[in-house]
Each structure stands twice: as structure tokens, then as C-alpha cells.
Symmetry: C2
Subunit: 281 residues, 2 copies
Amino acid sequence: MRIIRSIKKLRQFVKNAKRKGKTIGFVPTMGYLHEGHLSLLREAKKDCDICVVSIFVNPIQFGPKEDFSRYPRDIKRDKFLLKSAGADIIFYPSIKIMYPPGFLTFVVIERLSDVLCGNSRPGHFKGVTTVVTKLFNIVQADIAYFGQKDIQQSIIIQKMVEDLNMPLKIKLMPIVREIDGLAMSSRNVYLFPQQRSDAVILWQALKKAKQMINMGERSSQAIISSIKKLICTKKRVRIDYIDCVSIDNLTSLRKLKGRVIIALAVWIGKVRLIDNIIVRA
Amino acid sequence: MRIIRSIKKLRQFVKNAKRKGKTIGFVPTMGYLHEGHLSLLREAKKDCDICVVSIFVNPIQFGPKEDFSRYPRDIKRDKFLLKSAGADIIFYPSIKIMYPPGFLTFVVIERLSDVLCGNSRPGHFKGVTTVVTKLFNIVQADIAYFGQKDIQQSIIIQKMVEDLNMPLKIKLMPIVREIDGLAMSSRNVYLFPQQRSDAVILWQALKKAKQMINMGERSSQAIISSIKKLICTKKRVRIDYIDCVSIDNLTSLRKLKGRVIIALAVWIGKVRLIDNIIVRA
């Protein structure tokens, strides 16, 4: 496994690999890896000859009051995990290399970026689509892997790839959960023990929503208010949003039909957690 | 020479060419070709194994009151010219293929898109950067060629390529002029004989600016007011803008120093013409 910090060196590596006819799988991450990230890498290893994992905490996708500076980082641990899991390259660029002074260009995606998490985090997805475009152009992968936990991000990136004719495929992989159901997230490390125990309510709420749909409930209002009630039993948990949206275009649904996403975001103390489930109504 | 209208077929062609180690040169155009376009193709033929020319009148770079529908088109003539000049592929997609219903993604470049022509044509460069990104992703060229006549466009695209790490080089080629000095442009065909004769004033104004700078003038105000006076001798010509800007970042200069662009845009009847000159002050 090689660690590459320079764009030029990564390009050289990619060029050589492509010349030999190798396919490249790419897993973009912000580091502080967990089993969710590693599941993406394992899938990439099945599909592709060479696997590149990037580690870059992207400053422009954090709002001014968000947790950029305290976002968890542990490059040594990440290196160890990625080596064990069989990554070929870690691309680990500096902020200065990714955003030199005078940086002016952004990729924006209308509408999809303004709902759900985009509503709570203005500018977040502009930062995501911009950095992902840069990384795609640098790595030139055949397939890039994203986790369903950030479902809005995945749908936005899939749409961006289609709209801008980017020459790669996007593969969406299922959420990896802790034994008690909490979706794995680098931010879980922020949680104090009592908060960690409260956090299970997200998964319980989603399971309840699925159960209601499976029992025939089709009113999103009924589902949302039922979830709300359940979450409110945990006094330390504050709801950011709960929504039932179409998987095609993320629009809120009144009547559920076809494949729908139940998505939610909550605050527990200073930690914002998200989770979702895809259900066929 | 092959004419390809489908993105999928072009991708297949490109993939095969790359597999054989061929380099690809790319000349994006809106058709109605003139010697300026052909000079780009000839340069591409010198540099690259395979030359792709795209012809696409990009609707999203035209404002609602601009000349999209009456922009000159003559695909038969273009085919003939490109075949004679040795193009390998004409990529000639439909609007529906480039912008299917539900298109949502745009590439934007701040500041550089708001000055000069961007000030007169809001949204124009957003349309340009978006379509050029799409074309770059489809053609996957090694080098793309742009003409200095649209200097702001070239600088914006160069900046976009740098900022987003697009894996290709941009080559800027000099303006090709008619015998009397008028910069070649597809829009020149709109001009009535008297307007055509008035249009020479653009080049005369730029030559005058260069002369003043060569004689030691460094005040942009002095240069601009002198040009203005000259252009105003033609009563049918209405000035849109005249500016002296830095070649690095298109900011207006008070005192000229280093490589500067004298850029101007005028209206002659319903026709908007632009021209520029790069001078070392």
C-alpha cells in the first residue's frame, strides 16, 4: 500500500495503471474509518484491479459553525485499517493542494441540494459535489463507492455524474450498523455514554416506520408523527427533520408509493446524527 | 471523417482510441465555422493523433432575450469544411441528449464570470462552463483548443480546469482576422454592409490602445476615453463595455503593468461583437 499526498504523483500512478489496462475502484472518505467505509473498500476490491481510498476532511462542506476543526482524525489508525483491508493507494492530500489560494470553481446541483440535510446545512452539498468532482478528475476511477447512510449525498452524486457525463459508475452500498442498530458514523465517537444509548432511537424509529408501511400505512403524516412521538421519549434528542421522500428526486411525499426513503436527522447534545431506510410502499 | 450524434457511441470510439494509445485533440464549437475555428483544428492536428470537433449551439449559455434561435447554423457547410481540414470526428449531439428533462447540475466560477461579458450577459458563463465540462467528460481529450477572441471564456475555462483538476490541457490560439482587421465570428454574418464596414472600428480602437501603451501611456482611463472617442465617430455603434484588465484574474486595472487585456464589446444594430488584444505594458 502506498500513501500519496501529491496530485501529480497520483496522476502518474493512475496513468501507468490505466496503460496496463487495470480498472480502478475509488472510495472517497473523510477518514476516521469504520466498518462502513471498509465495506465499500471490500466491494471495490471485488470489482476492480486497483483500489484507491482518499482521506480528506473537506473544509468547504462544513458551515462556519459546524465541526470541521473538531472532526475526528486518526491517520495512523486509518492507515492500519486500510492496509489490513487491502487498499492499494491512500490519497491523502493537504487542504492547500486541494484549494490553493484563489480557488473559484464550484459544482452545484439545484433543488436536490436544498432539501433534507441541505436545508439544515446550507452550502454543504455544494462543498461535497465540488470536492467529489475534483477527486473524480484526479483518480479517474471506473467505479466509485458511496454508503447509503449519506443517501442524499449518494443521490446527488449519482445525478451529478449523469448530468455532467462523468465517465465512471457510482455504486451505493448498504448501511453498516452497530449491534444495537445505530448506523456507523465517524461522528459517533463524539457521543457520551448516555447519548450513545439514546442514539439507538433513530434506528428504532426507522424500523417502526417500515413496520407501519408493511402493515399498509401510506400516509407520510401518520408515519412522521408516530416516529416523532417515539423519538420524543428521549429527552436529550432534538429532531432536526423527519421526512418521507421519493428515491428518484427527494421530493416530500404525502402518499407513499413505490420506493421511498424515510430519512431523519437529530441532534443529541452537540452531535448531529442522520439515518435512513429505503422501503417499498 | 465520422459524424457521431450519440454520447454512447462517442464514448466507445474514444475508449478504443485510448486503448490504442492515441492522443485526442478537441475543438468545441457552436458551428457555422470560420477560419478561426479551422485554425484550432489545424493546431490540434499538429499535436494529437485524433481530432474531435463538436458542433452544439448550447441553449443554456444564451439569455432569454439573446439570439439562440436565430444563431446561424449550416451543418452541411460545416461538414464540408471540417472534412477538408482533416477532422476525424464531428460530435453533433441534440439538445435533448445534452440536457435531458430534469437536468440540475451546473459548474459555476465565481468573480471571473461576473465581469466584462458576464456583466452584460448574466448566466452566460455558467452555461459555458457547464457545457464544456460535459463535453470534456464525454470526449476525454488530452488537449482542448480555444480561440483568444473569447478571451474571458478561455481564461474561465483554464481556471475551471485547474480548480477542478480536469485531466487535460487547454491551448489558447490567436484571433484570426478578416483582411480589414475584423475578428472572425459566426455572428459577423448578421451584419448588413454598412454595419460590416462600421465594425472595423473595433480593431482600429484596439490598435490605437496598443499604440498608446507602446508610446508609454499607462493610465487605463486615458486609454479607455481615447478608444471611446474613436468608436463614437461611428454613429451606428453603441459601446457595451471597454476595459483594461489583468490577464491573470480579469480585474480592472487603473495603472497598466505586465500583460494586460484591452477588451471591448459593442452593439451594432442587433449584433453584439467582441474583440480584445493582449499587450505587454
